[in-house]
């Protein structure tokens, strides 16, 4: 029992509740929010280091032992995701201080921000499938609110669609849990893993596996269920898009990795090598094609989110140690990079007042730092060594060749190239060429926006140059995932 793993959920929850009281005083809200987020980030780093050294921690909430009570379980993967959540949360929070309008702040922006972090951290830390559903809902409710705050017509329309699709997928999630409960008689993930392993692998388990795949596919925006993402991520302010693009879809991917390494790891030839691998290839390819066809800063990046998700799922689909480690490393890289890029889109929008690439140009001359930051992030996402994107894609593609999955390896390579093309398109249109914004706009200062984002730029460089230790960490995580016996034993204490 260790109560410490409760804190990444508890701290943002209390902060959110307290911030409601100060809603009329934006300055006080910012101070409290900033302080709490810094404390939370520091604590999550400590927790991750502790878990890396001393092994995973569990907490039976309320003293009700597993598998009867709700269990929180923090292994290395969960701890890593919590750290990334906190870093992204911290960066986006400080970016919000400079960009979020006071009117939005008065409409409970910061409380919802912290409730979102609560939901995301909770989803990573829980060891109970039904509790995962609950934390998904906490996260989604906060995300509806954040998406609609400001109340422009576009936001209202797209949030409505976003809410409907998510309510539908939550319904499917509940159905899937009910199916699994009726088959295995438990909702504790470790207990489920044990019991599903003892069962005969009949058709019903495949059906349930596919149902879970659909649920997390909608949440994580995979082929063919990603249609909701580009438009709904386009409406809200850049910082919210950045937070969502960095975190929310990854919660779906995390849940999929968790469920398909822990519970549904018996029929790999079908679920992983056919279902997930095919979805991964198509997600990558169609996502990037969407990006290549668009001429809008934010929309291109939104399509890239989809495309990049394919790489993570590809690692899960190949299901070897190297591939999973690649997927884990790629997920960390992606959360950092994608948030950074979307923050750059916000900065560019603040200067030029538009996200339409054809109306932008010449930002390199007037805002050189923004341009170089963007270039580093863009090269990283395209996979140019020695930045972090390369070390994410390389092991994935090597693993694909080792497994003789040539098709998906080639798709991944082609997608990398197309990613580079679409990123260079943004760079050429928005940063090179004739200056299209006015002299006044050229004077707009974006230092307050670039300062938080610079943390992410430094991180991607660090992740690239320090690939060896980070990748060793990812391999440790992958090893844990491939041998779930340790997880099961720690949770069930047998």
């Amino acid at each position: 029992m260790s109560n410490s793993i409760m804190l990444p959920v508890l701290l943002p929850f209390i902060t959110g509740a307290v911030l409601i009281l100060f809603v009329k005083r934006p300055m006080l809200q910012r101070i409290v929010a900033g302080l709490m987020m810094i404390i939370l980030t520091g604590f999550s780093l400590y927790l991750a280091a502790d878990i890396y050294q001393n092994g995973m921690k569990t907490l039976a909430v309320g003293g009700w032992q597993a598998p009867f009570g709700i269990v929180l379980a923090a292994d290395n993967l969960a701890a890593m995701m919590v750290v990334l959540t906190c870093i992204v949360g911290l960066v986006c929070l400080f970016y919000s201080f400079a960009t979020i309008h006071t009117e939005r702040e008065r409409h409970y922006y910061y409380p919802f921000y912290f409730f979102l972090i609560t939901g995301v951290n909770g989803s990573f830390l829980t060891g109970d499938l039904f509790n995962l559903f609950v934390f998904f809902e906490v996260m989604l409710l906060a995300s509806y609110a954040l998406m609609v705050i400001g109340g422009t017509k576009y936001q209202l329309r797209e949030t409505m669609k976003y809410a409907v699709i998510n309510v539908f997928s939550s319904l499917l999630f509940l159905v899937a849990i009910a199916y699994l409960y009726s088959v295995a008689g438990t909702v504790n993930m470790a207990h489920l893993a044990q019991r599903v392993g003892e069962l005969e692998q009949t058709g019903i388990l495949q059906v349930i596996a596919i149902l879970f795949f659909l649920v997390f596919g909608i949440k994580g925006a995979l082929f063919p269920l990603y249609f909701w993402l580009p438009r709904s991520y386009y409406g809200p302010p850049a910082v919210i898009t950045a937070l969502f693009g960095g975190l929310l879809t990854k919660v779906g991917v995390y849940a999929m990795i968790r469920v398909f390494t822990l519970i549904f790891n018996h029929d790999i030839a079908f679920t992983h090598h056919i279902l997930i691998a095919a979805a991964a290839g198509l997600t990558m390819l169609l996502g990037v094609l969407g990006a290549v066809s668009k001429y809008d800063f934010k929309k291109i990046l939104a399509y890239h989110i989809i495309s990049q998700l394919g790489y993570m799922i590809m690692g899960l689909g190949l299901f070897t140690k190297l591939a999973l480690a690649g997927a884990i490393y790629y997920m960390a890289h992606h959360i950092i990079i994608k948030t950074g890029l979307l923050l750059m889109a916000g900065a560019a929008q603040k200067v030029t007042g538009t996200t339409d690439l054809k109306k932008m140009g010449g930002l390199l001359r007037t805002h050189p730092y923004m341009a170089w930051f963007f270039l580093i992030l863009a090269l990283s996402i395209a996979g140019i060594p020695p930045l972090s994107g390369f070390f994410g894609k390389f092991p994935l593609i090597v693993a694909a060749f080792q497994e003789q999955s040539y098709v998906i390896a080639i798709v991944a390579l082609v997608v990398g190239l197309l990613t580079l093309i679409s990123m260079m398109k943004i760079f050429m249109y928005a940063f090179w060429g004739q200056q299209k914004h006015t002299g006044d706009q050229a004077q707009v200062r974006v230092g307050k926006l670039l300062a938080p984002a610079s943390v992410l730029v430094i991180l991607t460089i660090a992740l690239g140059f320090g690939a060896q230790p980070f990748f060793t960490y990812a391999e440790t995580v992958a090893e844990e995932l491939l041998n779930p016996a340790g997880y099961i034993q720690t949770v069930l204490k047998e």
Partner: protein
């Protein structure tokens, strides 16, 4: 508000009685909740329905003056009460959300069970009242 009928005395008297009954019953439900059907959620909903009746028959202005509450603050306090009760476990060295209970004998009442689940449930109660009322009042204000 549409439903306000300033001069209908009988209606007002009866509604006042109904509101009192509803509030009393909602508290009964709240306290019944620990071992029998009821609890903070249902109690909170019923209290909210009583307050809504007040808004409907006495007008938003009058009811708002009587309530003198900002509902989001009620939500916030409810959340904090619930989580602080959960944290007793943290401070006592047990797991988070551990429930403590004891049987005590009080004069007049006799033996009753005192448990930390009740203040937790009261937090839930506050959240439900606050959330329901915040939603209804916000929507009704939209009309003007």
């Amino acid at each position: 508000m549409r439903f306000t009928r300033e001069h209908d005395v009988m209606q007002r008297v009866w509604i006042t009685v109904v509101i009192c009954l509803l509030l009393a019953f909602s508290w009964y439900l709240f306290f019944a909740g620990h071992n029998r059907p009821g609890g903070g959620f249902i109690g909170g909903l019923m209290t909210a329905s009583a307050i809504v009746l007040m808004y409907m028959f006495f007008g938003a202005k009058e009811a708002g003056r009587v309530m003198r509450l900002s509902y989001p603050v009620v939500i916030s306090l409810g959340l904090l009460v619930a989580v602080v009760v959960g944290m007793i476990g943290l401070l006592a060295g047990d797991a988070f959300f551990t429930q403590y209970f004891d049987y005590v004998t009080l004069p007049l009442v006799g033996e009753i069970e005192l448990t930390t689940a009740v203040p937790f449930d009261f937090g839930v109660y506050l959240v439900v009242v606050g959330a329901t009322m915040a939603a209804i009042v916000t929507i009704s204000e939209d009309e003007d």
